[in-house]
């Protein structure tokens, strides 16, 4: 353990715990509201999926999952207020059960990032965890966060449609996202925006080069996810990645020493 890392660890946990608590509480409430919707309820009815769930059926029943989500919400308060490891662990359990209940993921990649952050915090906030283990947990979040941008950037850069603006135009036209009419559809603008998005995503590893770069990248990431939330209706991505972003500063701080 390098001298001074304990301070950096305390600082990053002071940021990540309340942000992850907010993301976890938000996800729990959002999922609980969605699972009460008649159409969602019908499509994931316990009787409809009983055979598919097999022995796990009681664990994945709607009532059990709603109870787990309530515990996730309560755990989020403990995580945010007291950095309680069990608060993060309850979030992990709620996230896994809700995802399994719907046979996949409730809200795409945001489930995976929230799971990553909460699992890491459950380790990093554990009272008897060694500093090396706590450090490793946060660096793991930084690695996953960086990988999420880098991989997304690579797959976009390989697609010709992302260079021409056709990809963004097509995504804005997808009925599932319901992008508002005020979003510009000008092809030249979409072309520039598309190239800008994957170029920015590909630059994610630069955040590890210096703490100041990590802070700058995190700030731009918040703006990126906020725009996605506004245009595509993805607030859970903003909150899940928002909770992960401080880990980039921690990783850059470690490397800078």
């Amino acid at each position: 353990m390098i001298a001074g890392d304990a301070t950096a660890l305390d600082t990053v946990l002071a940021w990540m715990a309340p942000l992850a608590a907010l993301a976890s509480a938000h996800a729990a409430l959002d999922t609980a509201v969605v699972l009460r919707d008649p159409a969602v309820r019908a499509a994931h009815d316990d009787a409809v999926l009983a055979a598919e769930r097999g022995l796990a059926a009681p664990l994945l029943a709607r009532r059990t999952v709603l109870a787990a989500l309530a515990l996730q919400g309560a755990g989020a308060v403990a995580l945010g207020v007291a950095q309680a490891w069990w608060g993060a662990a309850l979030g992990v359990v709620g996230t896994v059960l809700a995802a399994a209940h719907v046979r996949g993921r409730v809200n795409g990649g945001s489930d995976a990032m929230l799971f990553t952050v909460l699992a890491a915090l459950a380790v990093a906030c554990a009272p008897r965890a060694r500093d090396a283990l706590r450090t490793g947990a946060i660096v793991y979040v930084a690695a996953q966060c960086t990988a999420s941008y880098l991989r997304a950037g690579v797959v976009k850069a390989r697609e010709r449609d992302w260079w021409t603006g056709r990809a963004l135009a097509a995504f804005l036209a997808l009925p599932a996202y319901g992008a508002p009419a005020w979003v510009p559809r000008d092809r030249a603008l979409l072309r520039a925006a598309g190239i800008g998005v994957f170029a920015w995503e590909l630059a994610a590893p630069l955040a590890w080069a210096a703490p100041s770069l990590a802070v700058a990248y995190a700030a731009s990431a918040v703006a990126f996810h906020a725009a996605n939330a506004l245009v595509l209706g993805l607030p859970r991505f903003l909150l899940a990645w928002g909770a992960a972003l401080p880990s980039l500063w921690f990783a850059a701080t470690l490397l800078a020493r």
Binding site: R41, A42, G104, F115, R151, A152, V155, A170
Partner: protein
């Protein structure tokens, strides 16, 4: 199912918005509709509001239901339990959508999954219909 979910959460692909594919849509219609008419979407995305930047369960609902339809689009082997489960889910969702369109209507509505590609789709391809069986017809 739990193990598969854990694996997906532990090893996410992070390949967001990589390519444009034909967007599948679940459509329903009353059993007495005339041939080729009466199809309507089973669910639609909510109109975007400014507060959706922070709170959008209706958008989460749409994406969740859409992911089910997209799963049906790629699942072709009807013999597996997972595919049969997806078909049962689509049937249940279509029935719920029918009740949403016409409250109290307990008749067995028809449903289909159609693909609409590109930015200005002129035609739709039916990939799955209520029987359930995979069909390859061109729908208006």
């Amino acid at each position: 199912m739990l193990a598969a979910t854990l694996l997906r959460l532990c090893l996410p692909s992070w390949a967001f918005f990589d390519r444009i594919g034909a967007a599948p849509r679940l459509e329903v219609r009353p059993p007495d509709a005339t041939e080729g008419h009466g199809w309507r979407p089973a669910f639609v995305a909510p109109r975007r509001r400014w507060w959706h930047v922070a709170w959008a369960p209706a958008a989460t609902r749409t994406l969740l239901l859409q992911s089910l339809v997209e799963r049906a689009q790629v699942e072709t082997d009807e013999a597996t339990p997972a595919v049969r489960a997806t078909r049962r889910q689509l049937g249940a969702l279509a029935a719920a959508a029918a009740r949403e369109h016409v409250p109290g209507d307990d008749r067995r509505w028809q449903w289909r999954v159609v693909e609409r590609g590109g930015e200005a789709p002129a035609r739709a391809r039916t990939v799955l219909a209520a029987t359930p069986r995979v069909v390859e017809s061109i729908a208006p």
